[in-house]
Amino acid sequence: MKKVAPTILLVLVTFIAIYNGAAQIENFWSALFSPGSNEILWQIRIPRVTAALIVGASLALAGLIAQGACNNALAEPSILGTTAGASLGTVLAVLTGFVQVGSLGAIACGALGALLATSLTFKLANLRSKLSSFSLIIVGIAVSAFFTAAVGLLSSMVTRADARSISFWNFGSLALITQENLLGISITAILGAAIAWRVSPALDRLSLGDSTAFHLGIDVPRSRLLALIALSLLAGGAVSTVGSIAFIGLAAPHIARFIYGPVHRKLIFHTAIIGALLVVAADTIARSAVQPNELPIGLITSLVGAPVLIALVTMRNNIWKTQ
């Protein structure tokens, strides 16, 4: 029962998310099975919930890959600088006037920013000695802070509605999602998940350390590069479209490992389901809790994610051995 609970919950929460909103939908069930029949349902609510599903799955997978590739329980897109890099890449592209938030161009720039920022973190963490968990996290936090500050400065100096607000880039929002945005995030989610699937056996072996992974036949730099590309696509696509949503990349993989064990190929599907569940639930709370206003979704995910982080450090039988 424990193993199918996330999938059942996801179906249930998705229906609640589609049903629930500021406007009551008349004849909900018949509208649901007649595509295009109800504008609020088909133009606003279903695209938003679909985006929440894709973004949640993407961020969760990005966290799984980050933790596997770094062999580090704390690695996740926002700690490695990936999220901030994606935000900066998108903001810079939008401010030049060539792309709009949510477009394929913005997603490409977000993914590129994510890749550059994460590569910078790895490069700096590796500069003086072998890559260690400690240096990776410290450098990641510093890179993340620097890029986040740059996003804040740019957003404050150039006030343009289409570049979104500091709050959007720091806490995320699915409020402005349209049907057109779904194509881009679907592409990055599918590509990222496909690479994650390919690289997942190598991630299992990387948990034994770089040296043992190499002895078992893993080309460590190549596997890590592939993981980095998948991570950047997944986080870049999600962040460039809905902003930063904290803790999904951290919480979802840990919940999945707790239920399903550590094998990465098995975890890809389950982590995506749990990530989707968390974001759909958080978004539903964000838009229902203080109607007619809306809370930033990142506030809700932080409320869930922070206790997971504390549990991770304090739990005795945790699947990760924390030194």
Binding site: S207, L208, S211, F214, I218, V220, V263, I319, W320
Partner: protein, 195 residues
Amino acid sequence: MISINKISIDLGSKQIITDYSDQIPGASITVILGPNGSGKSTLLNAMAGDIKPTKGTITIDDTDPALTPASQLSKLRAMAIQNQNYTLGFTVKQIIEMAGDSKEIIEALALTELSNRQVTTLSGGEAQRVSIATAIAQKTPVLLLDEPLAAQDIENRERIIKLLQKLAVSGTTVVLVAHSSESELIWADKVIKQA
């Protein structure tokens, strides 16, 4: 056979191995002895392809491990490192199966009762046996082991030595680093002393 041809290895500014040559016969057990810091593990790492000698070459049956892709090398040699640190809670069986078939080696190294335990909960000696079992499960012609006997009790030391002898008889070239005195190594075919 492993050929070591006039190798020198520098780590940082320190020269660890200087102009060293040797031949390690196939289907045998070779033990590398020496005091701490004498370069025993460095020599083993160079044979495994982890380190490229600054000068000279090492070949395993005419293949230079430092120039061979990881996937190809993993069919030629297996290695168990010293102090394997497991961070993620795979079971003992899952870890060994990352290298190959687990059944036989789990029995041979008395790991049956531990096979479903998470590796993160094992003692140092148990974790070391899992590391040895993983290397053996790769079924390669060359087996390199860094201090495999260090954290073992007498019973497990004997168990491991017997298994290595059996592997050598069946054609495996076994090279290991140890801290024993030379007189104890009656089971070794060759001893290399690093100064």
